[in-house]
């Protein structure tokens, strides 16, 4: 009797159940199936009767799956040793071809040049795998990178040395941006813009679509005003036929040499480019440090000056007020004799006794400069003799008639005639006057402003500030740019004039970007806006990737170990 449970037994029913694993081979061969079917183990229930049981589909599929897995495992293990013998053999360790600069690492050391565990057995593999599972483990390969590559700052800091003091930036690593094993056409240094934008908070589509605008003074680093008036030179002076011999050939390129440098465009310098016209003008203007003012009653000749000569005229030798510089040094109004008489007499007495030293001390004390530099070259005897003359109510008559550049005391003045462009004494005085802080006393401050107007003005000695830029607050300490400003130190930014000049040959190419305008920011040119660049640098025209203008690392170089090994 067949019970309710027995009716589905394989040997009691023709019902064929897939989980059993076997089915009647006759049925598979489209013959009449066996009444009882094969047993669970695939044997025939009829003894020696012909029976050819077949596996059920599920079991057959499982066998194929196991065979596939076993085949893959076998291939993986067998081919794992491929690289150890020959890098050209197929290998299950092959992560892809290296970039050209690293391709040589497949040589003697092979993969172990970068991967420490390569070829060192199961123990090293397990250790390396466990190390990689720890936080930061996947970045351990950075050590292999920095074995050869060096730059300023630590590799785990964003932009390495640039933001070294910022603690809010996330840690990074070499492999966060640089990917290897991408083939010969993709160097490890190549990366899409998205790589940069993945960290930067401000997101945009491209250089021509959303890039932040340049600074309001670009390419200058600050709002420093014109130091060289290109507009008047080009439109006025160079157009004057009388200056024809001084007009630089090649317009902009006659003075600038972008083909020799990248970001900073060199100029020919003052002697080659400016002296032809400007030397005479500079030579005509002397620096008057001291002009003896009216002083009543007329002083008596001090004994230290020697025996008095003819009796002096009782009326004052000078009827002029003090020059602005002397008035400021004395701390009195230039036309207020009552105020300056006493300090002036003391100064004269001191000069009689010590020569130029009291003037230097007074200037250093009032202006804050280096007294020795301010009066460098002024003979003490010259100062003493001038002081003796003035203290005797006489004009000073220097010995000899020739007038050489440098310090000169003559008549009622001590003045300085600059011998050449770039003279250190004039520089020292101008620096001291420009850098002098605003005095607390309003009258004193007014006198300092008078000194600045006289010395630093357009008609001042040397007319220096017509070309040398002065920057800073109008009534505070200011600085003068004596040397041509070096290119602003932009650590993350680079610009190379050379390919631009090469791409746009001709004298007028500079004006493609550097435009003169009503509101110049630097040297008579309006700031360069991003539009000047995006007109060419956009998708499909010229390179517009981040790395075209920006650098991530600073001063990247191969370390000595690498270059030594290469030799």
């Amino acid at each position: 009797m067949t019970g309710s449970r027995d009716q589905f037994r394989h040997d009691r029913s023709r019902y064929e159940r897939p989980p059993l694993g076997w089915r009647c081979g006759r049925a598979v061969a489209w013959g009449r199936p066996c009444e009882r079917g094969p047993r669970a183990d695939g044997t025939c229930p009829h003894g020696d009767a012909p029976c050819a049981p077949r596996r059920m589909h599920a079991q057959l599929r499982g066998r194929i799956a196991l065979a596939a897995a076993a085949l893959v495992l076998a291939l993986v293990v067998i081919l794992a040793g491929g690289f150890a013998r020959d890098a050209r053999l197929p290998s299950s360790l092959d992560a892809g071809p290296l970039s050209p600069s690293h391709a040589a690492f497949l040589g003697e050391e092979g993969c172990s040049s970068c991967h420490a565990a390569h070829g060192r057995g199961a123990t090293a593999w397990i250790s390396a795998a466990l190390a990689a599972l720890r936080p930061g483990g996947p970045h351990a390969i950075d050590g292999a990178c920095t074995t050869c590559h060096g730059f300023d700052g630590r590799e785990s800091l964003a932009h390495n040395a640039v933001f070294e003091k910022r603690a809010d930036l996330p840690q990074t690593s070499c492999v966060a941006c640089h990917a290897e094993h991408r083939g010969a056409s993709l160097p490890a240094s190549a990366m899409p813009d998205a790589q940069c934008q993945s960290c930067h908070a401000r997101q945009f589509h491209g250089f021509a679509a959303g890039h932040p605008p340049f600074s309001p003074w670009y390419p200058s680093a600050s709002d420093r005003k014109a130091s060289f008036d290109h507009a008047s030179h080009i439109s006025k002076h160079f157009a004057d036929p009388r200056n024809a011999e001084f007009v630089p050939a090649g317009q902009c390129l006659g003075c600038h040499q972008p083909q020799k440098q990248g970001g900073a465009v060199a100029t020919l310098g003052y002697e080659a480019a400016c002296a032809g016209c400007h030397d005479q003008g500079i030579a005509r203007r002397d620096l008057v440090v001291m002009r003896w003012p009216e002083l009543e009653p007329a002083p008596q000749a001090p004994e230290a000056c020697g025996p008095p000569g003819d009796a002096p005229d009782p009326s004052p030798v000078s009827l002029d007020p003090a020059n602005a510089l002397l008035a400021f040094l004395l701390g009195a109004a230039a036309d207020d004799q009552a105020a300056y008489a006493d300090p002036l007499r003391k100064l004269a007495d001191a000069m009689v006794a010590k020569g130029a030293e009291p003037i230097a001390a007074l200037a250093a004390g009032r202006l804050g400069g280096d007294g020795a530099r301010l009066l460098r070259g002024l003979s003490g005897e010259t100062a003493r003799m001038a002081a003796c003359a003035w203290a005797s109510n006489r004009e000073h008559e220097p010995p000899g008639g020739a007038t050489q550049p440098g310090w000169r005391a003559e008549g009622l003045e001590i003045r300085y005639a600059r011998p050449a462009h770039g003279d250190p004494v004039v520089r020292a005085w101008l620096d001291a006057i420009a850098a002098s802080p605003r005095p607390a006393d309003d009258d004193d401050a007014e006198r300092l402003e008078a000194v600045r107007a006289e010395i630093l003005g357009a008609d001042g000695p040397g007319q220096c500030l017509k070309c040398h830029a002065i920057s800073g607050p109008a009534d505070g300490p200011r600085t003068i740019a004596w040397n041509r400003s070096p290119a602003p130190q932009r650590q993350l930014h680079r610009f190379d004039h050379r390919p631009h000049v090469a791409a746009m040959p001709g004298a007028g190419s500079c004006a493609s970007c550097h435009l003169q305008g009503d509101k110049p920011a630097s040297s008579g040119f309006v700031p360069v806006g991003i539009e000047a660049c995006t007109s060419c640098h956009q998708q499909g025209k010229a390179p517009d990737g981040c790395l075209t203008c920006h650098a991530y690392h600073q001063n990247h170089a191969l370390k000595p170990r690498m270059t030594k090994d290469a030799r």
């Binding site: 013959g31 290998s91 892809g96 565990a117 593999w125 966060a176």
Partner: protein
């Protein structure tokens, strides 16, 4: 059913949101102690493990682990999400290394066969229900044998009753091929009428040669042919429903091995 649909819709939305979030994180979070390649790799590995559990669950039907249809829904949703996770993890259409390429090929084989299987499972059951008797796949050979025996019995009866051998001879020359095993598999899979046309043509050809008293036996044979045609359709469609698993399951098993190797290697060679 409706509640299940809502649950499935929720899972689809959850999976899409998860993959979108993973993609956004991968695109933006580069500078971190968490390496994005490793993070997305482990997420993908977890998804692959979840997909593999479905195969284990199918082998343990006796355990109260939820309805098989729910498991299948989750398997499909996680499988589709794994495609997105794979794209985010790999980041390129075609990896560079030989091992990674092998892994990619296996993954694509699993995905392609899985999608094909899912489409077949969505289409074929309805066609199976329309095509005739519901037969257990393993019993179809027996059913074909039974129909063959029925056809041969009909011929014997025809010969005994009418005394003509025309029908028997014609069966031996033409219809015996038809009853040997399931025929016209491609026509049935494509939904064509090749088998029906073949039957009609053959039966019409012999009908002209039969005496009047043989005609009822031909009608009986035609009815057996119609039944055979339905069994053939069942066989063709059920074979197709099983065939894709012979790609999907072995490819998935091989992929698991290769993925395990990949996981080991990327950790060993991370330093």
């Amino acid at each position: 059913m409706r509640a299940m649909s809502r649950r499935a819709a929720g899972l689809w939305i959850l999976a899409a949101a998860g993959i979108a979030a993973l993609g956004a994180w991968r695109a933006t979070r580069r500078a971190s102690t968490i390496d994005p390649d490793f993070a997305t790799g482990w997420i993908l590995a977890a998804m692959v493990a979840a997909l593999a559990i479905y195969g284990v669950r199918r082998r343990l039907p006796m355990l109260p682990l939820g309805r098989a249809s729910a498991w299948l829904s989750v398997h499909v949703i996680v499988g589709v999400a794994a495609i997105g996770a794979y794209a985010i993890h790999v980041g390129t259409a075609w990896p560079a290394g030989a091992a990674d390429r092998a892994l990619a090929v296996l993954f694509l084989a699993v995905v392609a066969s899985g999608i094909a299987g899912h489409v077949l499972q969505a289409i074929l059951p309805a066609r199976l229900a329309r095509s005739g008797p519901e037969l257990i796949y393993e019993r179809i050979p027996g059913e074909v044998a039974r129909l063959r025996a029925a056809a041969e019995n009909a011929l014997v009866e025809a010969a005994g009753a009418a005394g003509h051998e025309t029908l028997g001879s014609y069966y031996a020359q033409t219809l015996a091929w038809y009853f040997e095993r399931p025929r016209f598999a491609l026509s049935h899979v494509l939904g064509g009428h090749g088998a029906e046309a073949w039957e009609r043509q053959r039966l019409a050809a012999v009908e002209r040669l039969l005496a009047a008293d043989e005609r009822p036996h031909l009608d009986a044979l035609a009815e057996i042919c119609r039944h055979k045609r339905a069994v053939d359709a069942q066989y063709a469609l059920q074979t197709l429903l099983r065939a894709w698993t012979f790609v999907h399951v072995p490819a998935a098993t091989a992929f698991l091995v290769m993925a395990a190797w990949h996981t080991l290697i990327v950790h060993v060679y991370a330093g």
